[in-house]
Protein backbone atom coordinates (compact mmCIF):
# COMPACT_ATOMS: atom_id res chain seq x y z
CA UNK A 1 0.00 0.00 0.00
CA UNK A 2 1.43 3.34 -1.04
CA UNK A 3 0.92 6.39 1.12
CA UNK A 4 0.00 9.84 -0.11
CA UNK A 5 3.62 11.06 -0.19
CA UNK A 6 4.61 8.18 -2.47
CA UNK A 7 1.67 8.84 -4.72
CA UNK A 8 2.42 12.54 -4.84
CA UNK A 9 6.05 11.85 -5.70
CA UNK A 10 5.06 9.45 -8.48
CA UNK A 11 2.51 11.90 -9.79
CA UNK A 12 5.00 14.76 -9.76
CA UNK A 13 7.44 12.69 -11.79
CA UNK A 14 4.67 11.73 -14.22
CA UNK A 15 3.65 15.36 -14.59
CA UNK A 16 7.19 16.45 -15.39
CA UNK A 17 7.63 13.55 -17.81
CA UNK A 18 4.44 14.49 -19.67
CA UNK A 19 4.76 18.25 -19.65
CA UNK A 20 8.41 18.27 -20.70
CA UNK A 21 7.86 15.92 -23.59
CA UNK A 22 7.44 18.07 -26.68
CA UNK A 23 6.37 15.15 -28.85
CA UNK A 24 3.62 14.26 -26.41
CA UNK A 25 2.48 17.85 -25.98
CA UNK A 26 2.09 18.22 -29.72
CA UNK A 27 0.30 14.87 -30.00
CA UNK A 28 -2.12 15.69 -27.19
CA UNK A 29 -2.74 19.34 -27.99
CA UNK A 30 -6.43 18.66 -28.66
CA UNK A 31 -6.93 16.70 -25.43
CA UNK A 32 -8.43 18.50 -22.44
CA UNK A 33 -9.89 16.27 -19.77
CA UNK A 34 -10.54 15.84 -16.06
CA UNK A 35 -9.34 12.53 -14.72
CA UNK A 36 -10.04 11.03 -11.33
CA UNK A 37 -7.69 8.40 -9.93
CA UNK A 38 -9.21 6.33 -7.15
CA UNK A 39 -7.08 4.09 -4.92
CA UNK A 40 -9.18 1.02 -4.24
CA UNK A 41 -7.19 0.05 -1.15
CA UNK A 42 -6.78 3.40 0.63
CA UNK A 43 -9.75 5.31 -0.70
CA UNK A 44 -7.47 8.21 -1.64
CA UNK A 45 -8.59 10.04 -4.75
CA UNK A 46 -6.86 12.70 -6.74
CA UNK A 47 -8.04 14.70 -9.71
CA UNK A 48 -5.92 15.55 -12.71
CA UNK A 49 -6.73 18.57 -14.84
CA UNK A 50 -5.33 18.27 -18.37
CA UNK A 51 -5.61 21.26 -20.66
CA UNK A 52 -4.56 20.85 -24.30
CA UNK A 53 -2.21 18.07 -23.31
CA UNK A 54 -0.64 19.89 -20.37
CA UNK A 55 -1.17 18.59 -16.86
CA UNK A 56 -2.13 21.71 -14.92
CA UNK A 57 -2.69 20.24 -11.48
CA UNK A 58 -3.43 17.01 -9.62
CA UNK A 59 -4.90 17.90 -6.23
CA UNK A 60 -6.23 15.35 -3.77
CA UNK A 61 -9.98 14.81 -3.74
CA UNK A 62 -12.85 14.57 -6.20
CA UNK A 63 -12.59 17.88 -8.01
CA UNK A 64 -14.66 18.63 -11.07
CA UNK A 65 -16.72 16.26 -13.17
CA UNK A 66 -14.47 13.49 -14.45
CA UNK A 67 -14.28 12.44 -18.08
CA UNK A 68 -12.30 9.39 -17.01
CA UNK A 69 -12.18 7.52 -13.70
CA UNK A 70 -9.32 5.09 -13.14
CA UNK A 71 -9.50 2.78 -10.13
CA UNK A 72 -6.80 0.44 -8.89
CA UNK A 73 -4.47 -0.35 -5.99
CA UNK A 74 -2.27 2.51 -4.78
CA UNK A 75 0.86 0.47 -5.48
CA UNK A 76 -0.25 -0.02 -9.07
CA UNK A 77 -0.79 3.72 -9.48
CA UNK A 78 2.72 4.41 -8.23
CA UNK A 79 4.26 1.86 -10.61
CA UNK A 80 2.19 3.23 -13.48
CA UNK A 81 3.18 6.83 -12.86
CA UNK A 82 6.84 5.91 -12.60
CA UNK A 83 6.54 4.04 -15.88
CA UNK A 84 7.50 0.71 -14.32
CA UNK A 85 4.28 -1.02 -15.31
CA UNK A 86 2.38 -1.32 -18.56
CA UNK A 87 -1.21 -0.99 -17.29
CA UNK A 88 -2.82 -2.98 -20.08
CA UNK A 89 -2.08 -6.37 -18.56
CA UNK A 90 -3.63 -5.36 -15.25
CA UNK A 91 -6.58 -3.86 -17.13
CA UNK A 92 -7.16 -7.16 -18.88
CA UNK A 93 -7.06 -8.97 -15.53
CA UNK A 94 -9.66 -6.59 -14.15
CA UNK A 95 -7.21 -5.15 -11.62
CA UNK A 96 -7.49 -1.71 -13.15
CA UNK A 97 -10.91 -0.41 -14.09
CA UNK A 98 -11.39 2.60 -16.33
CA UNK A 99 -14.65 4.40 -16.85
CA UNK A 100 -14.60 6.69 -19.85
CA UNK A 101 -14.66 6.66 -23.58
CA UNK A 102 -12.62 4.15 -25.53
CA UNK A 103 -10.76 7.02 -27.20
CA UNK A 104 -9.69 8.45 -23.85
CA UNK A 105 -8.54 5.07 -22.61
CA UNK A 106 -6.50 4.73 -25.79
CA UNK A 107 -5.04 8.20 -25.20
CA UNK A 108 -3.90 7.23 -21.72
CA UNK A 109 -2.11 4.22 -23.11
CA UNK A 110 -0.56 6.32 -25.87
CA UNK A 111 0.81 8.73 -23.23
CA UNK A 112 2.52 5.81 -21.51
CA UNK A 113 3.95 4.67 -24.82
CA UNK A 114 5.38 8.07 -25.71
CA UNK A 115 7.01 8.82 -22.38
CA UNK A 116 8.10 5.26 -21.63
CA UNK A 117 8.34 3.34 -24.90
CA UNK A 118 10.39 0.65 -23.19
CA UNK A 119 7.94 0.01 -20.33
Amino acid sequence: MADWDELAEALADYTVSCNSNERLRKMQRDWSRTLHFVCSDTGVTFSMDVDHGEILSSPEGHIGTPDIVVTTHSETFCDMFWGDLNPVQKYLRGEITVKGSQEDIMRLDAISYVIWPDA
Binding site: N86, V88, L92, R93, G94, V98, S101
Partner: protein, 434 residues
Amino acid sequence: MTDAKQHALDQFATFINPQKVRVMRAAGLDIIEAERSGPWVWDVEGTRFLDCFTSAGSFNVGRRNPRVVAAAHAAVDRLDNGNFLLCSQAKAELAARLAEITPGELSCTMFGSGGGEAIDFAIKLARGSTGRPRIVSAVNGYHGHTGFALSACGRASFRQPFEPLMPEFVQVPFGDLDALSAAVDERTAAVLLEPIQGEGGIVMPPPGYLAGVRAACDRDGALLILDEIQTGLGRTGRWWASEHDGVAPDIMATAKSLGGSLVPISATVFTQELREFLIPNPFIHLSTFGGSDLACAVALEVIAVIEETGLVQHAAAMGERLFAGLRAIAAARPEVITEVRGRGLMAGVQYAEDSFGPRMSYHLARHGVLAIYSGNQPSVMRLMPALVIEPEEVDFLLASLERAIGDLVSGAGPEQAAPTRPRRRPARAAGAAS
Protein backbone atom coordinates in the same frame (compact mmCIF):
# COMPACT_ATOMS: atom_id res chain seq x y z
CA MET B 1 7.01 -16.02 -30.55
CA THR B 2 8.37 -17.20 -33.87
CA ASP B 3 10.87 -15.12 -35.80
CA ALA B 4 8.38 -14.68 -38.64
CA LYS B 5 5.75 -13.23 -36.34
CA GLN B 6 8.23 -11.01 -34.52
CA HIS B 7 9.57 -9.72 -37.82
CA ALA B 8 6.09 -8.91 -39.09
CA LEU B 9 5.18 -7.07 -35.90
CA ASP B 10 8.47 -5.17 -35.88
CA GLN B 11 8.02 -4.09 -39.47
CA PHE B 12 4.44 -3.08 -38.82
CA ALA B 13 5.52 -1.03 -35.82
CA THR B 14 8.33 0.65 -37.72
CA PHE B 15 6.55 1.40 -40.94
CA ILE B 16 2.88 1.61 -40.00
CA ASN B 17 2.03 2.27 -36.34
CA PRO B 18 3.89 1.16 -33.19
CA GLN B 19 0.99 1.96 -30.87
CA LYS B 20 -1.33 -0.30 -32.83
CA VAL B 21 1.12 -3.15 -32.35
CA ARG B 22 1.46 -2.34 -28.66
CA VAL B 23 -2.30 -2.30 -28.11
CA MET B 24 -2.93 -5.49 -30.07
CA ARG B 25 -0.05 -7.28 -28.37
CA ALA B 26 -1.14 -6.25 -24.91
CA ALA B 27 -4.68 -7.38 -25.69
CA GLY B 28 -3.47 -10.77 -26.89
CA LEU B 29 -4.65 -9.99 -30.40
CA ASP B 30 -1.26 -9.65 -32.09
CA ILE B 31 -2.38 -12.24 -34.59
CA ILE B 32 -0.61 -12.37 -37.93
CA GLU B 33 -2.98 -14.13 -40.27
CA ALA B 34 -1.60 -16.98 -42.36
CA GLU B 35 -3.86 -19.76 -43.66
CA ARG B 36 -7.56 -18.95 -43.98
CA SER B 37 -10.43 -21.22 -44.91
CA GLY B 38 -14.20 -20.98 -44.50
CA PRO B 39 -14.96 -19.63 -41.04
CA TRP B 40 -11.41 -20.28 -39.79
CA VAL B 41 -8.10 -18.46 -39.79
CA TRP B 42 -4.69 -19.67 -38.61
CA ASP B 43 -1.95 -17.34 -37.44
CA VAL B 44 1.67 -17.71 -38.51
CA GLU B 45 2.34 -19.81 -35.42
CA GLY B 46 -0.33 -22.33 -36.43
CA THR B 47 -2.97 -21.36 -33.88
CA ARG B 48 -6.49 -21.74 -35.25
CA PHE B 49 -9.24 -19.19 -34.61
CA LEU B 50 -12.93 -19.23 -35.46
CA ASP B 51 -13.18 -15.82 -37.11
CA CYS B 52 -16.17 -14.02 -35.63
CA PHE B 53 -14.92 -10.57 -36.58
CA THR B 54 -14.61 -11.26 -40.32
CA SER B 55 -13.35 -7.75 -40.98
CA ALA B 56 -16.69 -6.42 -39.70
CA GLY B 57 -18.74 -8.81 -41.79
CA SER B 58 -16.65 -8.98 -44.95
CA PHE B 59 -16.40 -12.75 -45.30
CA ASN B 60 -20.00 -13.93 -45.67
CA VAL B 61 -19.13 -16.69 -48.16
CA GLY B 62 -16.22 -17.77 -45.99
CA ARG B 63 -12.57 -17.04 -46.33
CA ARG B 64 -11.10 -18.16 -49.63
CA ASN B 65 -14.32 -19.81 -50.70
CA PRO B 66 -13.17 -22.35 -53.34
CA ARG B 67 -15.73 -21.27 -55.93
CA VAL B 68 -14.89 -17.62 -55.48
CA VAL B 69 -11.15 -18.32 -55.57
CA ALA B 70 -11.63 -20.25 -58.81
CA ALA B 71 -13.63 -17.38 -60.30
CA ALA B 72 -10.88 -14.97 -59.29
CA HIS B 73 -8.24 -17.17 -60.92
CA ALA B 74 -10.29 -17.38 -64.09
CA ALA B 75 -10.78 -13.62 -64.11
CA VAL B 76 -7.08 -12.98 -63.65
CA ASP B 77 -6.35 -15.29 -66.56
CA ARG B 78 -8.35 -13.15 -68.97
CA LEU B 79 -9.02 -9.73 -67.39
CA ASP B 80 -7.41 -6.89 -65.52
CA ASN B 81 -8.98 -3.90 -63.75
CA GLY B 82 -10.20 -2.49 -67.04
CA ASN B 83 -10.36 1.10 -68.24
CA PHE B 84 -12.66 2.80 -65.80
CA LEU B 85 -13.90 5.31 -68.35
CA LEU B 86 -15.09 2.68 -70.83
CA CYS B 87 -18.30 0.70 -70.67
CA SER B 88 -17.63 -2.74 -69.25
CA GLN B 89 -19.27 -6.11 -69.69
CA ALA B 90 -18.35 -7.21 -66.18
CA LYS B 91 -19.80 -4.04 -64.64
CA ALA B 92 -22.98 -4.39 -66.67
CA GLU B 93 -23.48 -8.03 -65.66
CA LEU B 94 -22.96 -7.30 -61.98
CA ALA B 95 -25.25 -4.26 -62.07
CA ALA B 96 -27.95 -6.42 -63.66
CA ARG B 97 -27.57 -9.05 -60.91
CA LEU B 98 -27.72 -6.39 -58.20
CA ALA B 99 -30.95 -5.11 -59.73
CA GLU B 100 -32.37 -8.63 -59.38
CA ILE B 101 -31.43 -9.18 -55.74
CA THR B 102 -32.01 -5.73 -54.23
CA PRO B 103 -35.44 -4.73 -52.92
CA GLY B 104 -38.07 -2.39 -54.28
CA GLU B 105 -37.29 -0.34 -57.33
CA LEU B 106 -33.52 -0.33 -56.93
CA SER B 107 -32.14 -1.08 -60.36
CA CYS B 108 -29.14 1.12 -61.22
CA THR B 109 -25.64 0.96 -59.82
CA MET B 110 -22.56 3.07 -59.31
CA PHE B 111 -19.50 1.05 -58.31
CA GLY B 112 -16.78 1.96 -55.87
CA SER B 113 -13.93 0.23 -54.13
CA GLY B 114 -15.05 0.49 -50.51
CA GLY B 115 -17.99 1.20 -48.25
CA GLY B 116 -17.09 4.82 -47.55
CA GLU B 117 -16.92 5.52 -51.25
CA ALA B 118 -20.34 3.92 -51.73
CA ILE B 119 -21.82 6.17 -49.03
CA ASP B 120 -20.06 9.21 -50.45
CA PHE B 121 -21.74 8.62 -53.77
CA ALA B 122 -25.10 7.91 -52.15
CA ILE B 123 -24.98 11.31 -50.46
CA LYS B 124 -23.78 13.05 -53.62
CA LEU B 125 -26.63 11.47 -55.55
CA ALA B 126 -29.16 12.49 -52.90
CA ARG B 127 -27.98 16.07 -52.85
CA GLY B 128 -27.61 16.23 -56.61
CA SER B 129 -31.02 14.72 -57.28
CA THR B 130 -33.02 16.70 -54.74
CA GLY B 131 -31.08 19.95 -54.83
CA ARG B 132 -31.34 19.92 -51.04
CA PRO B 133 -28.44 20.13 -48.58
CA ARG B 134 -29.38 18.34 -45.36
CA ILE B 135 -28.44 14.78 -44.47
CA VAL B 136 -29.93 13.23 -41.35
CA SER B 137 -28.11 10.24 -39.85
CA ALA B 138 -28.01 8.51 -36.47
CA VAL B 139 -25.96 8.95 -33.35
CA ASN B 140 -23.46 6.08 -33.09
CA GLY B 141 -24.04 5.26 -36.74
CA TYR B 142 -21.04 4.29 -38.81
CA HIS B 143 -20.68 4.81 -42.53
CA GLY B 144 -16.94 4.97 -43.23
CA HIS B 145 -14.09 7.42 -43.02
CA THR B 146 -14.24 9.27 -46.34
CA GLY B 147 -15.48 12.86 -46.66
CA PHE B 148 -19.26 12.74 -46.92
CA ALA B 149 -19.44 9.43 -45.07
CA LEU B 150 -17.38 10.76 -42.18
CA SER B 151 -19.62 13.83 -41.98
CA ALA B 152 -22.56 11.47 -41.45
CA CYS B 153 -20.71 9.33 -38.92
CA GLY B 154 -22.41 9.38 -35.55
CA ARG B 155 -19.27 9.16 -33.47
CA ALA B 156 -17.88 12.58 -32.58
CA SER B 157 -14.34 11.35 -31.90
CA PHE B 158 -14.02 10.22 -35.52
CA ARG B 159 -15.18 13.61 -36.81
CA GLN B 160 -13.78 16.21 -34.46
CA PRO B 161 -10.07 16.09 -35.40
CA PHE B 162 -11.01 16.85 -39.01
CA GLU B 163 -13.62 19.55 -38.57
CA PRO B 164 -14.97 21.54 -40.24
CA LEU B 165 -16.51 18.72 -42.24
CA MET B 166 -19.39 18.97 -44.69
CA PRO B 167 -22.17 21.33 -43.61
CA GLU B 168 -25.81 20.41 -43.04
CA PHE B 169 -25.25 17.02 -41.44
CA VAL B 170 -27.50 16.29 -38.48
CA GLN B 171 -27.49 13.27 -36.17
CA VAL B 172 -30.48 12.04 -34.19
CA PRO B 173 -30.77 9.13 -31.73
CA PHE B 174 -31.20 5.80 -33.52
CA GLY B 175 -34.63 4.34 -32.94
CA ASP B 176 -36.24 7.62 -31.88
CA LEU B 177 -38.82 8.15 -34.60
CA ASP B 178 -40.07 11.42 -33.15
CA ALA B 179 -36.58 12.91 -33.19
CA LEU B 180 -35.98 11.75 -36.72
CA SER B 181 -39.35 12.95 -37.94
CA ALA B 182 -38.68 16.37 -36.43
CA ALA B 183 -35.27 16.56 -38.11
CA VAL B 184 -36.63 15.84 -41.59
CA ASP B 185 -38.05 18.78 -43.49
CA GLU B 186 -38.24 20.23 -46.98
CA ARG B 187 -34.50 20.99 -46.86
CA THR B 188 -33.61 17.36 -46.21
CA ALA B 189 -31.98 15.54 -49.10
CA ALA B 190 -31.86 12.17 -47.38
CA VAL B 191 -31.95 10.14 -44.24
CA LEU B 192 -29.00 7.77 -43.98
CA LEU B 193 -29.25 4.79 -41.63
CA GLU B 194 -27.98 1.29 -41.02
CA PRO B 195 -30.95 -1.09 -40.69
CA ILE B 196 -29.12 -2.52 -37.68
CA GLN B 197 -26.29 -0.46 -36.23
CA GLY B 198 -23.08 -2.47 -36.43
CA GLU B 199 -20.25 -0.42 -34.98
CA GLY B 200 -22.78 1.17 -32.66
CA GLY B 201 -23.13 -2.16 -30.86
CA ILE B 202 -25.58 -4.26 -32.88
CA VAL B 203 -28.44 -1.91 -32.08
CA MET B 204 -31.80 -3.15 -33.34
CA PRO B 205 -34.41 -0.71 -34.61
CA PRO B 206 -37.66 -0.74 -32.63
CA PRO B 207 -40.54 -2.47 -34.44
CA GLY B 208 -41.96 -0.17 -37.08
CA TYR B 209 -39.06 2.26 -36.91
CA LEU B 210 -37.78 1.85 -40.45
CA ALA B 211 -41.30 2.02 -41.83
CA GLY B 212 -41.81 5.22 -39.86
CA VAL B 213 -38.57 6.62 -41.24
CA ARG B 214 -39.73 5.77 -44.73
CA ALA B 215 -42.99 7.61 -44.10
CA ALA B 216 -41.19 10.66 -42.70
CA CYS B 217 -39.00 10.78 -45.79
CA ASP B 218 -42.00 10.44 -48.11
CA ARG B 219 -43.85 13.18 -46.22
CA ASP B 220 -41.20 15.77 -47.06
CA GLY B 221 -39.82 14.39 -50.30
CA ALA B 222 -36.53 13.26 -48.73
CA LEU B 223 -34.72 10.14 -49.89
CA LEU B 224 -33.99 7.10 -47.75
CA ILE B 225 -30.45 5.73 -47.97
CA LEU B 226 -29.85 2.40 -46.26
CA ASP B 227 -26.31 1.35 -45.46
CA GLU B 228 -26.38 -2.45 -45.84
CA ILE B 229 -22.61 -2.74 -45.92
CA GLN B 230 -22.45 -4.93 -42.79
CA THR B 231 -26.03 -6.17 -42.75
CA GLY B 232 -26.48 -7.18 -46.37
CA LEU B 233 -25.79 -10.20 -48.56
CA GLY B 234 -27.47 -12.68 -46.23
CA ARG B 235 -25.89 -11.62 -42.94
CA THR B 236 -29.20 -11.30 -41.05
CA GLY B 237 -30.94 -14.31 -42.60
CA ARG B 238 -32.43 -12.29 -45.45
CA TRP B 239 -30.64 -10.91 -48.47
CA TRP B 240 -30.95 -7.44 -46.93
CA ALA B 241 -31.74 -6.53 -43.34
CA SER B 242 -34.33 -3.98 -44.44
CA GLU B 243 -36.44 -6.87 -45.78
CA HIS B 244 -37.27 -7.84 -42.19
CA ASP B 245 -39.10 -4.52 -41.93
CA GLY B 246 -40.58 -4.57 -45.42
CA VAL B 247 -38.94 -1.27 -46.24
CA ALA B 248 -37.29 -0.45 -49.56
CA PRO B 249 -34.87 2.46 -49.73
CA ASP B 250 -34.26 4.87 -52.60
CA ILE B 251 -30.54 4.23 -52.38
CA MET B 252 -28.69 1.27 -50.88
CA ALA B 253 -24.98 0.83 -50.25
CA THR B 254 -23.32 -2.58 -50.21
CA ALA B 255 -19.64 -3.49 -49.99
CA LYS B 256 -17.50 -5.73 -47.74
CA SER B 257 -18.73 -9.27 -48.48
CA LEU B 258 -19.50 -8.36 -52.08
CA GLY B 259 -15.77 -8.85 -52.71
CA GLY B 260 -15.82 -12.39 -51.35
CA SER B 261 -12.88 -11.70 -49.01
CA LEU B 262 -10.64 -11.40 -52.08
CA VAL B 263 -11.15 -8.04 -53.79
CA PRO B 264 -12.28 -4.53 -52.87
CA ILE B 265 -15.61 -3.53 -54.36
CA SER B 266 -18.67 -1.58 -53.33
CA ALA B 267 -21.92 -0.70 -55.02
CA THR B 268 -24.43 2.10 -54.57
CA VAL B 269 -27.73 0.87 -55.95
CA PHE B 270 -30.54 3.33 -56.67
CA THR B 271 -33.78 3.83 -58.55
CA GLN B 272 -34.25 4.70 -62.21
CA GLU B 273 -35.83 7.94 -61.08
CA LEU B 274 -32.64 9.01 -59.31
CA ARG B 275 -30.58 8.02 -62.31
CA GLU B 276 -32.10 10.99 -64.09
CA PHE B 277 -29.49 13.12 -62.35
CA LEU B 278 -26.74 11.13 -64.05
CA ILE B 279 -28.15 11.34 -67.57
CA PRO B 280 -26.84 14.87 -68.18
CA ASN B 281 -23.88 14.14 -65.83
CA PRO B 282 -22.55 10.73 -66.91
CA PHE B 283 -18.99 11.50 -65.80
CA ILE B 284 -19.73 13.37 -62.59
CA HIS B 285 -18.56 10.54 -60.32
CA LEU B 286 -15.59 8.42 -61.39
CA SER B 287 -13.54 5.77 -59.66
CA THR B 288 -10.40 4.24 -61.13
CA PHE B 289 -10.74 0.97 -59.26
CA GLY B 290 -14.46 1.07 -58.45
CA GLY B 291 -16.08 -1.95 -59.99
CA SER B 292 -12.95 -3.15 -61.70
CA ASP B 293 -13.53 -5.98 -64.16
CA LEU B 294 -11.68 -8.36 -61.84
CA ALA B 295 -13.73 -7.38 -58.82
CA CYS B 296 -17.01 -7.58 -60.73
CA ALA B 297 -16.19 -11.12 -61.85
CA VAL B 298 -15.54 -12.11 -58.25
CA ALA B 299 -18.68 -10.36 -56.99
CA LEU B 300 -20.82 -12.16 -59.56
CA GLU B 301 -19.57 -15.47 -58.22
CA VAL B 302 -20.17 -14.35 -54.63
CA ILE B 303 -23.82 -13.68 -55.46
CA ALA B 304 -24.05 -17.02 -57.26
CA VAL B 305 -22.60 -18.85 -54.26
CA ILE B 306 -25.00 -17.16 -51.84
CA GLU B 307 -27.96 -17.97 -54.08
CA GLU B 308 -27.09 -21.48 -55.21
CA THR B 309 -25.93 -22.80 -51.83
CA GLY B 310 -28.89 -21.37 -49.92
CA LEU B 311 -26.56 -19.36 -47.75
CA VAL B 312 -29.23 -16.86 -46.71
CA GLN B 313 -31.44 -19.63 -45.31
CA HIS B 314 -28.39 -21.30 -43.77
CA ALA B 315 -27.47 -18.04 -42.01
CA ALA B 316 -30.98 -17.84 -40.59
CA ALA B 317 -30.78 -21.43 -39.31
CA MET B 318 -27.31 -21.03 -37.83
CA GLY B 319 -28.43 -17.75 -36.32
CA GLU B 320 -31.26 -19.50 -34.50
CA ARG B 321 -28.80 -22.02 -33.08
CA LEU B 322 -26.38 -19.25 -32.09
CA PHE B 323 -29.01 -17.08 -30.41
CA ALA B 324 -30.50 -20.03 -28.51
CA GLY B 325 -27.05 -20.77 -27.12
CA LEU B 326 -26.25 -17.15 -26.37
CA ARG B 327 -29.51 -16.66 -24.52
CA ALA B 328 -28.84 -19.73 -22.41
CA ILE B 329 -25.38 -18.45 -21.50
CA ALA B 330 -26.77 -15.00 -20.74
CA ALA B 331 -29.37 -16.54 -18.45
CA ALA B 332 -26.67 -18.46 -16.61
CA ARG B 333 -24.27 -15.51 -16.41
CA PRO B 334 -26.36 -12.37 -15.78
CA GLU B 335 -23.41 -10.75 -13.98
CA VAL B 336 -21.48 -10.79 -17.26
CA ILE B 337 -24.07 -10.67 -20.08
CA THR B 338 -27.09 -8.42 -19.74
CA GLU B 339 -28.57 -8.78 -23.22
CA VAL B 340 -28.19 -10.64 -26.48
CA ARG B 341 -29.51 -9.02 -29.63
CA GLY B 342 -29.29 -9.15 -33.39
CA ARG B 343 -30.56 -11.16 -36.31
CA GLY B 344 -29.28 -14.13 -38.25
CA LEU B 345 -25.50 -14.24 -37.87
CA MET B 346 -25.19 -10.66 -36.72
CA ALA B 347 -25.14 -11.01 -32.96
CA GLY B 348 -24.35 -8.52 -30.25
CA VAL B 349 -23.51 -9.63 -26.74
CA GLN B 350 -24.08 -6.80 -24.28
CA TYR B 351 -21.74 -7.09 -21.32
CA ALA B 352 -22.36 -5.66 -17.90
CA GLU B 353 -19.27 -3.40 -18.03
CA ASP B 354 -17.36 -1.55 -20.73
CA SER B 355 -14.09 -3.24 -19.78
CA PHE B 356 -15.60 -6.67 -20.40
CA GLY B 357 -15.47 -6.02 -24.16
CA PRO B 358 -11.66 -5.77 -24.44
CA ARG B 359 -11.17 -8.39 -21.73
CA MET B 360 -13.48 -10.87 -23.41
CA SER B 361 -11.71 -10.32 -26.75
CA TYR B 362 -8.55 -11.39 -24.95
CA HIS B 363 -10.10 -14.45 -23.29
CA LEU B 364 -11.97 -15.56 -26.41
CA ALA B 365 -8.73 -15.46 -28.38
CA ARG B 366 -7.21 -17.77 -25.76
CA HIS B 367 -10.06 -20.17 -26.49
CA GLY B 368 -9.78 -20.07 -30.26
CA VAL B 369 -12.27 -17.36 -31.17
CA LEU B 370 -11.38 -14.08 -32.84
CA ALA B 371 -13.99 -11.54 -31.77
CA ILE B 372 -13.70 -7.80 -31.37
CA TYR B 373 -15.93 -5.51 -29.36
CA SER B 374 -17.88 -2.77 -31.11
CA GLY B 375 -15.92 0.33 -32.01
CA ASN B 376 -18.60 2.73 -30.82
CA GLN B 377 -19.73 0.62 -27.87
CA PRO B 378 -16.96 -1.36 -26.15
CA SER B 379 -19.39 -3.15 -23.83
CA VAL B 380 -20.80 -5.02 -26.83
CA MET B 381 -19.12 -7.99 -28.48
CA ARG B 382 -19.93 -8.42 -32.14
CA LEU B 383 -20.20 -11.99 -33.32
CA MET B 384 -20.38 -12.04 -37.11
CA PRO B 385 -18.94 -15.35 -38.32
CA ALA B 386 -18.87 -16.38 -41.95
CA LEU B 387 -22.29 -17.55 -43.09
CA VAL B 388 -20.80 -20.91 -44.07
CA ILE B 389 -20.38 -21.76 -40.38
CA GLU B 390 -21.67 -25.25 -39.52
CA PRO B 391 -23.61 -26.35 -36.41
CA GLU B 392 -20.58 -27.87 -34.69
CA GLU B 393 -18.70 -24.62 -35.25
CA VAL B 394 -21.52 -22.63 -33.68
CA ASP B 395 -21.29 -25.01 -30.73
CA PHE B 396 -17.53 -24.44 -30.59
CA LEU B 397 -18.15 -20.70 -30.40
CA LEU B 398 -20.67 -21.10 -27.60
CA ALA B 399 -18.38 -23.43 -25.62
CA SER B 400 -15.49 -21.01 -26.05
CA LEU B 401 -17.65 -18.16 -24.86
CA GLU B 402 -18.56 -20.07 -21.70
CA ARG B 403 -14.91 -20.84 -21.00
CA ALA B 404 -13.88 -17.24 -21.67
CA ILE B 405 -16.51 -15.98 -19.23
CA GLY B 406 -15.14 -18.40 -16.65
CA ASP B 407 -11.67 -16.90 -17.12
CA LEU B 408 -13.03 -13.37 -16.94
CA VAL B 409 -14.86 -14.01 -13.70
CA SER B 410 -11.86 -15.74 -12.14
CA GLY B 411 -9.65 -12.72 -12.88
CA ALA B 412 -7.37 -14.61 -15.23
CA GLY B 413 -5.36 -12.56 -17.67
CA PRO B 414 -1.94 -11.92 -19.07
CA GLU B 415 1.02 -12.05 -16.75
CA GLN B 416 2.86 -8.80 -16.23
CA ALA B 417 5.60 -8.53 -18.82
CA ALA B 418 9.12 -8.70 -17.42
CA PRO B 419 10.67 -5.22 -17.18
CA THR B 420 13.14 -4.38 -19.93
CA ARG B 421 14.89 -1.65 -17.97
CA PRO B 422 15.68 -0.85 -14.32
CA ARG B 423 12.78 0.38 -12.23
CA ARG B 424 12.46 4.16 -12.01
CA ARG B 425 10.40 4.16 -8.85
CA PRO B 426 12.64 4.83 -5.83
CA ALA B 427 13.05 1.95 -3.40
CA ARG B 428 10.87 2.35 -0.32
CA ALA B 429 12.72 3.08 2.90
CA ALA B 430 12.72 0.27 5.49
CA GLY B 431 9.71 0.56 7.78
CA ALA B 432 7.71 2.67 5.35
CA ALA B 433 4.15 1.78 4.33
CA SER B 434 3.72 -1.44 2.39
